[in-house]
């Protein structure tokens, strides 16, 4: 890696970037250098400013102070169009796909927008659009058939959307591709394809900047690591020179070791049993049972039916075959409300749109489920009782603020997730289904979420964790079910199995089923 003094050799350089949002000082003097053809891994805890620095590079935010040097030219701030013109393409954390436009348009419109320097008063070249989109879609390993190209992105599963977003980034002549947590909903196979793609991009002298919480992927990709803490860059260097412990330490300022969290053991009472359950063509013949205080992991590729299974157990999807028994009583779960009434809780995958009331207070978000139980004798909500309950939850979930009147949106993602999980403590469900409980959450937050999960199992709640994060399942579960093409293909003891074993089982069986 050459560090020449001249400006022009760097693709991009940030000097003394500060960013304030009202009273929040998100970035406190960031210096960073990006060179062509290199891969960068931007690491840091939730809320340390990673997304913010990216948004500054891609022109979404203007820095409060500092200088951006792009291709040797200095800017006080960039506009989205300037950044795009310079070849800075971004896959945002929220993907930033336009839900109502087709895949084709999402992928390829940007190219024509940029080549017209942002001018909108010009004709649209449909042919060029199709060609560009086709090529990019092929490059991310999707099949560019008409059905896909002409669907609105809102109709696609998350994993496909994520790849469409990546396709958009590489559809233009990119020189720097930024990806903010691009693999959160990708399965291992898809991640492999992405890693190959990155290698290809680098071979064409394109720089790639990753923001990620998944260290093992960063190690596989290699390149430089940039560590942020509290809005400052605390380290930059070759990733191979840092151990996991080093990085954790740099990010958090404290030691966190990887460990198996699961301590308790399931009780004998059977809480839930599915027999030959099925729903449409999403999943079939699912049978398993769950003991009191047991933690069951369910994993599989994104189209394996695991998401639908989670939804069906919690009243969001109708079960068309088989039956569900709760405490040996055959039952039906017709709606989320009925699931809750029967003691089944659900922490959805997408916490912002499905879980939290983002501009309502922490208090309201924590006691959401028990408003009807907080009544005093006038039929009003007993605020004292409610706040008591909310404080209790905050404490249990080790929230980093004691002010329960703050809007929940003011919390970082990890804390938000804790509120969402803690909500269920208020009704002590019999069964709690956690869907991707730590997606996009940093190490520190993960730690406290896992501890809280274990404490729930100790108290006799049966838990189901639906997740891609294999270490998470291994660290927390008693058993792990692997799903595939709508069926359970393997059942493993979490204490004795390992990641490799699960992957092999998952992929091997995938091919078997496919045949």
């Amino acid at each position: 890696m050459s560090q020449l003094p001249s400006l022009s050799t760097h693709l991009l350089e940030l000097r003394g970037i500060h960013k304030r949002f009202g009273g929040v000082h998100a970035l406190r003097g960031v210096d960073m250098v990006i060179d062509p053809g290199e891969a960068y891994h931007l690491l840091g805890e939730n809320g340390c400013g990673k997304s913010t620095v990216i948004k500054i590079i891609s022109g979404v935010h203007a820095p409060s102070e500092g200088e951006i040097i792009l291709d040797g030219k200095s800017y006080g701030q960039l506009s989205p169009i300037q950044a795009l013109e310079a070849g800075v393409e971004t896959v945002y954390q929220d993907l930033s796909l336009l839900p109502n436009l087709t895949v084709e348009e999402n992928v390829a419109l940007g190219q024509q927008l940029v080549s017209g320097k942002g001018s909108l008063l010009r004709p649209l070249d449909k042919k060029l659009l199709k060609e560009t989109a086709r090529e990019a879609i092929l490059n991310v390993g999707l099949v560019p058939d008409k059905a896909l190209m002409s669907s609105p992105t809102a109709d696609l599963p998350l994993a496909v959307r994520q790849r469409v977003a990546i396709a958009r980034a590489i559809a233009c002549k990119a020189r720097l591709v930024i990806m903010d947590e691009p693999t959160t909903s990708l399965t291992r196979k898809e991640v492999d394809a992405l890693i190959e793609l990155v290698a290809k991009l680098r071979a064409q002298d394109v720089a790639v900047l990753f923001v990620t919480h998944k260290l093992e992927e960063s190690y596989r990709i290699g390149g430089q690591v940039i560590v942020f803490r509290d809005g400052q860059c605390v380290a930059q260097g070759n990733i191979a020179d840092y151990s996991r412990a080093d990085l954790s330490h740099l990010m958090t300022g404290r030691e966190i070791e990887s460990q198996r969290y699961r301590t308790g053991t399931p009780q004998t009472k059977e809480m839930l049993r599915l027999s030959n359950a099925g729903s449409g063509d999403a999943f079939y013949d699912i049978s398993f049972s769950l003991k009191m205080g047991e933690i069951l992991g369910i994993t599989g590729l994104s189209d394996s039916g695991r998401n639908e299974l989670a939804l069906a157990m919690t009243g969001h999807l109708e079960l068309t075959h088989g039956q569900i028994e709760i405490e040996d009583q055959a039952t039906q779960i017709a709606s989320p409300a009925s699931a809750i009434k029967q003691g089944i809780g659900y922490v959805p995958e997408d916490r912002l749109s499905e879980g939290l009331f983002i501009d309502k207070s922490i208090y309201e978000n924590e006691v959401t489920l028990i408003f009807d139980d907080l009544l005093n004798r006038f039929g009003m909500i007993d605020a004292k009782k409610g706040r008591e309950a909310a404080r209790n939850i905050s404490e249990h979930m080790t929230l980093n603020t004691s002010d329960i009147d703050l809007p929940v949106g003011a919390l970082s993602g990890g804390n938000q997730q804790r509120v969402l999980i803690g909500r269920w403590l208020s009704i002590e469900p019999k069964i709690l289904v956690l869907h991707g409980p730590t997606v996009g959450v940093d190490v520190g937050s993960k730690d406290s979420i896992y501890r809280a999960v274990q404490a729930m199992a100790e108290r006799g709640i049966s838990l189901i964790i639906v997740s891609d994060d294999l270490p998470e399942l291994l660290q927390n579960c008693d058993r792990i079910l692997v799903m595939n093409r709508g069926r359970v293909v393997d059942e493993l003891d979490a204490a004795t199995t390992n990641e490799e074993r699960i992957y092999n089982s998952m992929l091997a069986s995938y091919q078997e089923v496919a045949e």
């Binding site: 959401t368 009003m380 603020t401």
Partner: protein
């Protein structure tokens, strides 16, 4: 209640300014007891409708109630015809009034519930649904009354509701304030109210939390209808007569009042007290213009300008700035380590 509500502060300041201006410009007549009473008795009609609009907006998903005034007129006409067919006005004034008043509320409640059912069960967008029911209700009123005004008459108790005073305060205004208070409490302190606001803020999360959207939406629109029914009662009590085309301009004005009160059309946010103040402001301004004798076309202009001013002030966050000077600001991240 923990943070002073910027909009509330603004509304209160505006009321004070209008009262002072009016007092000065009219040489005091504007502030005379008679005029204050007169203005007070004019507030409830539009006030009830505006609260109804607010409720619908709070329910989210493009919630709006365009059928308010149509429902008020329908309530007055239908309930009036019904009550008159049972009790002769002159002989049983109390029974008549009670029947009529209850009838108004029942008709409003049913009409509103119909809106709610159509929206939550059939999934029709509120704007289309209430536009359709607005025409339907107006049509029913026309059919019932053959398009003529229906004379409700003014038996003593009904007259009192519309024109009487309780310690110098118009009874209709007191009724309005009482209903607003009850609603304010309901929205703030009952599970229904809190759930309404949360559903409006994020319908999907509400569903995941097991709230019954069906029940919340139906109850909300039914409440909005109930308020329209009350508006119908007040109209009948004040004017002795009810008619299908009364108050056609109220449709937009009710929305104007709600919006000026800071109700978010996206749902999930709205305070009854702000709507009450906002309705009062509109009344003060409108009476002031009538007092000065300005052309009534200027009133339209003034309303438009006032609304845009509100938006500018909110945009520039002047009120927040003002508030920070008043109270020390909490930093959400202060506790972060």
């Amino acid at each position: 209640m923990r943070k002073p509500d910027g909009n509330l502060v603004l509304l209160v300041m505006l009321i004070v300014i209008l009262l002072i201006t009016g007092g000065i410009m009219s040489g005091g007549t504007y502030l005379s007891l008679f005029n204050i009473q007169s203005m007070g008795s004019q507030v409830p009609e539009i006030g009830f409708l505006a609260i109804g609009v607010m409720l619908a907006m709070c329910a989210g998903d493009g919630g709006i109630d365009l059928s308010g005034i149509a429902m008020a007129n329908m309530a007055g006409v239908a309930s009036g015809l019904f009550a008159m067919s049972i009790f002769p006005v002159a002989e049983a004034p109390i029974l008549f009034t009670v029947t009529f008043a209850v009838g108004c509320m029942v008709v409003g409640l049913i009409g509103g519930a119909l809106n709610g059912l159509i929206i939550s069960r059939l999934g029709i967008t509120p704007i289309l649904c209430t536009l359709g029911t607005q025409m339907l209700f107006t049509g029913i009123t026309v059919v019932l009354s053959s398009g003529r005004a229906v004379r409700i008459g003014s038996p003593e108790p009904l007259y009192e509701i519309g024109n009487g005073y309780f310690y110098d305060i118009p009874i209709s205004f007191l009724m309005f304030i009482a209903v607003a208070l009850v609603l304010g409490v309901v929205l703030r302190y009952t599970p229904y109210g809190v759930k309404l606001m949360m559903t409006g803020a994020n319908p999907k999360a509400a569903e995941f939390s097991g709230f019954s959207r069906f029940r919340i939406v139906t109850v909300t629109y039914a409440l909005s209808g109930l308020l329209a029914g009350l508006a119908g009662l007040i109209i009948a009590a004040r004017n002795v007569n009810v008619k299908w085309d009364y108050g056609t301009t109220y449709l937009l004005i009710a929305i104007l009042v709600a919006v000026m009160a800071g109700v978010k059309p996206d749902g999930g946010h709205g305070r009854v007290i702000n709507v009450v103040l906002s309705a009062i402001i509109l009344q003060l301004l409108s009476s002031l213009l009538n007092f000065i004798g300005l052309s009534n076309f200027v009133r339209d202009l003034a309303w438009g300008a006032l609304l845009l001013c509100f938006l500018f002030v909110n945009r520039l966050a002047l009120v927040d700035y003002f508030n920070t000077l008043l109270s020390s600001r909490r930093d959400p991240h202060a506790s972060k380590t």
